[in-house]
């Protein structure tokens, strides 16, 4: 018995030692010792992470003088870790930040603007990017990074339910609504009581993520969340109230949407019990894996006065204080990833280059290409460092109204007051408006 154990121990130890030696030999620990090491952190832990890893491997092969080490963490952990690393001066050379989070990282002062690099040794023409996305990363006249993609919210709809309700075009294909009238008509026809108990068990529409859903709807009605300098919260704007009232009416007047179920509405959509939802293009991968769901994507219908949808972009950022070869290699990586963003789109994103979106490869991605039609009128989240506080108040106000616990105007007014208090606190601590950088 003991001799068997001894042999087993020896085998395991030998295996470990051999493994470590092989890994070193194979270059896993760093490759060419003279190569510049570039650390690249991101939150791509899903299938998108594998796409990114392939791109990084290719970069490493093509660039012998640089070696990129990529590290992935789930977004929540990632942001905290990145933030603390940044404060401690140990942030990676290149990292990914959502545009929504740019203001807080900008304020903390560890993003290096890229403007001086655009015309440098590895020139980069920002005109190849969509103007709206390039504008979204501009703060105080400087650009804080290069947007890699854009992920807009869009309309997902169940084609089978549409066909059953007769919502089809002349060739018999499911036809998604594009206007308020069409949307309401479709929602009514898709809300059905299948078992005859007097309660609908198939819904025309459901709110998935109330905060995101109304972030999409309110700007359509023309409302803003803050005034120009982000010194005053304008959530209680009558146009925002109007948008929220529309949502309340969907549930309580038209009865075409169930009470807010948060993530569960999404399950309902996947089960075929909800015909339409608004959600992000990043939800696509989960739907594609589900073979029994006949779904498609379309732009969010124009419900208010103008088209619009919430969007965000993964932005490639550089850490402050980079110089010499490290800066050069890090920038080369950023450029490389931006140039290859069509491959990246295969992971479920929309490239921010109109030319790439015009390619047959992109046209063959049915949902991405539909959602991409909204690029001309995207709405990014408000540019404030206290976005979490804002979202928490915003979500609460929307929820209260949708549940019928307070009128839309009243719940938005209460949230406005609370956000205003956060603004005052912020001003008191920092002594300057929110949007100004360090």
């Amino acid at each position: 018995m003991s001799s068997i154990r001894r042999i087993l121990t020896a085998v395991v130890l030998a295996g470990l030692v051999g493994g470590v030696l092989w890994w070193n030999w194979a270059g896993g620990a760093g490759g060419d010792p003279s190569a510049v090491r570039v650390r690249f952190w991101n939150g791509f832990t899903g299938p998108d992470g594998r796409t990114m890893l392939r791109l990084i491997q290719r970069f490493n092969q093509e660039n012998a003088d640089a070696h990129v080490l990529m590290q992935r963490m789930d977004w929540a952990t990632y942001y905290n870790k990145l933030f603390v690393a940044g404060l401690g001066g140990r942030a990676p050379e290149v990292f990914v930040i959502h545009v929504a989070n740019l203001p807080r990282f900008h304020r903390a002062g560890f993003i290096r603007p890229v403007d001086d690099l655009l015309a440098g040794r590895h020139p980069f023409d920002p005109n190849v990017l969509d103007a709206s996305c390039w504008r979204a990363v501009e703060f105080g006249g400087r650009h804080l990074g290069v947007p890699l993609d854009v992920h807009p919210q869009g309309l997902y709809y169940n084609r089978r339910l549409f066909r059953e309700a007769g919502l089809v075009d002349e060739s018999g294909r499911a036809r998604p609504p594009t206007t308020r009238g069409e949307f309401l008509d479709a929602a009514r026809r898709l809300t059905r009581d299948l078992d005859g108990d007097g309660r609908p068990d198939q819904w025309g529409f459901a709110f998935t993520h109330v905060s995101n859903n109304f972030h999409t709807l309110m700007p359509q009605f023309g409302g803003d969340f803050f005034d120009a300098g982000a010194g005053r919260c304008t959530l209680d704007d009558p146009r925002n109230v109007e948008a929220l009232r529309f949502g309340v009416e969907l549930i309580h007047t038209h009865r075409v949407a169930p009470n807010p179920e948060d993530v569960e509405a999404w399950i309902g959509f996947r089960q075929g019990k909800v015909a339409m939802v608004f959600d992000g293009v990043y939800m696509l991968q989960a739907l594609l894996r589900q073979k029994d769901l006949d779904f498609a994507g379309a732009p969010v219908p124009r419900i208010g006065r103008r088209p619009g949808t919430l969007a965000d972009s993964h932005t490639l950022c550089l850490y402050r204080g980079l110089d010499g070869r490290r800066l050069e290699a890090a920038w080369r990586l950023v450029r490389f990833l931006s140039d290859h963003s069509l491959e990246w789109a295969g992971g479920g994103q929309v490239p921010v280059r109109p030319r790439l979106r015009g390619t047959p490869e992109f046209a063959a991605m049915p949902v991405q290409s539909q959602f991409a039609r909204q690029v001309p009128y995207l709405n990014y989240p408000p540019r404030v460092p206290f976005l979490f506080e804002f979202r928490s108040e915003f979500g609460l106000a929307v929820e209260r109204a949708l549940r019928g616990r307070a009128p839309a105007a009243e719940s938005l007014a209460a949230a406005t007051k609370n956000v205003q208090r956060v603004i005052e606190r912020d001003r008191e601590i920092f002594g300057r408006p929110a949007e100004a950088g360090p």
Binding site: A76, N80, F83, L87, R104, R107, A108, G109, R199, P258, N259, P260, E261, D262, E264, I267, G268, Q271, K273, P385, F386, F388, E389, S392, L396, E399, R400, R403, R405, I429, F430, P438
Partner: protein, 289 residues
């Protein structure tokens, strides 16, 4: 002093040293660091250095409506979860103790959920609880009922308590069962000879002898319940309408979403004071006379 007795004097410390090092580094140090932190205004978003502000963070917490809302949600959970857990665990333990066969099997069955990770248990129950498509309402629909388990602010917290009972009642059961086994059989025989029925045996023999174990279970449950986080965070994210946003979640959000470190540390210390006060009262009430 002989070398032997000198070793004897230090051997106790040597035995606890490994734990003491970890306890010091990961519990004591952070606790006091947190106390210091709570006196500073430290907004991580700011490039400005942390600033000593004295009790300002505590004053802010005490006048923060969300702090009190979170405190109320936490209190509601404690008030519902602790008595129910103890009562249920006691009943199950008594039932198990009276079993002649297959006790280990049933004990394991009750203990099994304790070993399930809260993320798994939380997601599982979130699906059970789903109003439109969940398991519970699928059965209740047969009798014409539809419970808004996690979607109604008045029902959400009781639902969380229900899930918590299932999830962690097994721990106290095992402890109480061990306690019950410690009560000598002869006491029951003597009580029976004196004419005591099962109820009087329970009140006059079991309960008094079980008091130290019961105290332990109650105190641990109160402490654990005040720190409730996983269940609500996974199942409701604090909703609907913040009705289940407990204090630990608010502290977490203040620290890691809003990056307000000093303020979060102050709220953590307020929670600590509340827990310590409750634990002290319980020790006092249930102490050996």
């Amino acid at each position: 002093m002989s070398p032997r007795s000198r070793i004897g004097r230090w051997s106790g410390w040597l035995f606890v040293a490994p734990y003491l090092v970890l306890f010091g580094a990961f519990i004591l140090l952070p606790v006091f660091f947190g106390l210091g932190l709570s006196l500073f205004r430290w907004e991580m978003l700011s490039p400005l250095a942390p600033k000593l502000v004295g009790a300002a963070n505590y004053r802010e917490a005490l006048s923060d409506e969300y702090f009190w809302k979170a405190m109320r949600a936490t209190g509601l959970f404690v008030v519902m979860a602790v008595p129910l857990t103890v009562l249920l665990a006691m009943s199950i333990a008594l039932g198990l103790a009276s079993l002649d066969r297959r006790r280990a099997l049933y004990r394991a069955a009750y203990f099994l959920p304790v070993m399930i990770n809260i993320s798994v248990a939380g997601i599982l129950w979130r699906w059970f609880f789903n109003s439109e498509f969940g398991l519970f309402n699928a059965y209740l629909a047969k009798v014409g009922l539809k419970v808004p388990w996690l979607t109604d602010p008045a029902v959400a917290m009781p639902s969380v308590v229900l899930m918590s009972l299932w999830w962690h009642v097994g721990g106290p059961v095992v402890i109480l069962l061990a306690g019950l086994k410690q009560v000598p059989e002869t006491y029951y025989e003597a009580a029976a000879i004196d004419g005591a029925g099962p109820w009087r045996q329970f009140v006059h023999v079991t309960l008094p002898l079980l008091k130290p174990v019961l105290l332990f279970v109650v105190v641990m449950n109160v402490i654990g319940s005040f720190q409730v986080f996983g269940q609500t965070f996974i199942m409701t994210r604090g909703g609907p309408e913040l009705s289940t946003r407990v204090l630990v979640q608010y502290i977490y959000e203040s620290a890691f979403n809003f990056y307000r470190m000093g303020y979060s540390a102050a709220m953590s210390w307020l929670l600590f004071v509340v827990i310590a006060a409750f634990a002290a009262v319980q020790f006092f009430l249930l102490r050996e006379r």
